[in-house]
Amino acid sequence: MTYRVWNRIGLFFAAFIMISPVILFFIWMISLSLKFEIDNGAYPPILIPERVAWSNYAKVFEENNFLLYFWNSVLVTGAATLLALIIGVPAGYGIARLKAERAAMVIMIARMTPGLSFLIPLFLLFQWMNLLGTLLPQIIIHLVVTVPIVVWIMIGYFETTPKELEEAASIDGATSWQVFRLVALPIAKPGIVVAFILAVIFSWNNFVFGIVLASRETRTLPVAVYNMLSFEQVSWGPLAAAALIVTLPVLVLTMFAQKQIVAGLTAGAVKGG
């Protein structure tokens, strides 16, 4: 018995050591974002300052149009995720039932392809269609990230849901659409939640599409925070505050939806871009 107790304590400490780089990083990130320039430039470094610089956060919103960029991110991620769910969930269902392995293969290869190779042709297309300067190009190109995630996770999920109920329903005279809508879809809710969460996260985090397609008014948050670095006098406090604002929604989502994320990543191990 005592052996088991010691074993648990030992494992706890081992786990604590493993996650300490994560904890230290985020503590340092918060510390950077709450210090004035003097404290951020001090040597040896100061962890907890005497005066806390909440003004760093105010500065981010006042001087950098961050509310607009936050809203842009919400629109792009929201639209790209919603569209992906509308077309991707039925597609995952169809592919799973048809056992269409070639369609699944295309999704797989799309996941392996570097994001840049989609970007060149689509950039030219958007330019030719005169769409640059609106959010539309980014919404469309984010589908490259969200659609494969949703389809891939839903294929996996529908393969595990029982077919018997669906067959019974169609013998009773239900149409294919009714079977999907009334029998298959309700059972698949947990899978849809997983697909939704992962699509949101990877779309929100996407950077490479934005640096090429976004103009001053259509930047998403990752692009905005990068631009702060390259075009202004680099002052660390506001920069760290901005970085925290960009990634906080995703981190909160990760903490609350941990189970779904773990399930989704280990089942499909899908990463976009």
Binding site: I120, N205, F207, P222
Partner: protein, 312 residues
Amino acid sequence: MASVTVDTTAADAVTEKGVKPPRLAPNYWPFVVPALVVIGAVIVFPWVFTLWMSVNSWTLGQEQTFIGLDNYVRLAGDMRFWESMWHTAIYTVLSVVAPLFLGTLAALVFDGQFPLRGFLRGVFVMPMMATPVAIALVWTMMFHPQLGVLNYLLSLVGIGAQEWIYNQSTVIPSLVLVETWQWTPLIMLIVLGGLAAVPREPYESAEIDGANAWQKFRYLTLPMIAPFLMIAVIIRSIDAVKSFDIIYAMTQGGPGTASETINIYLYNTAFAYYDIGYGSAMAVVFFVVIVALSFVLMMVRARTNWSDMEDR
């Protein structure tokens, strides 16, 4: 995992065709068509268009002309391209090996029972979900040679100041450090999935035989989780080869071209020099490299699975 499901579905299809009498199957194609249209527009069309552009000489704002395979010939003689291939290879190998080692270690720890296990695992997973650009900015500050916290921490244990991403010889290992910090959790999750499927009995008999912890790991655990390690290697390799955000945000390929991977060179060619045709040729070669890499890794995986089966 992917190929496991493919295998079983293929087997099902055969038995269904062979045994069951034909019946009126519901029509599933309408469910797939909208997605096929979108995938055709944003995924397949770019592939084809890239291929076509790669046989043209085309700099943005100028006329395009068909030049056949000239872009590919130019690529073969481009020293900067070969250098970027080399950087990509080093970057990828390091970014696979380090997370693989640490992730497996973490999975062995998290496979046990201890207080706050779920919460700690949640914290551990955070880096790979965090926005890469935001993470990269903070690491850049931490790497700062004079004011960065990392050099201060090194000085506490008596190690001299490093130049991290600001020195040609340390830039790639420094970037790999960030990549490892970010992606070790993914390996951990995959291996954890493998450990959950490991049966208890062999360990009990091994304990009776007096095997120590290392022997149990080496001769029982490792062979049983090998397929999962292989999946982890495949996924991590593909992601590491394509890595862009962290490198671009922290060094843009510098200092000089010391951390310029294929992806970064490709970006510069297409969107800094607007050499669309040449960039497209590079994208095609890059795509082939990635597909070839995954193919080789999957072959290796299929082979290891097979020999494992025989051993058992």
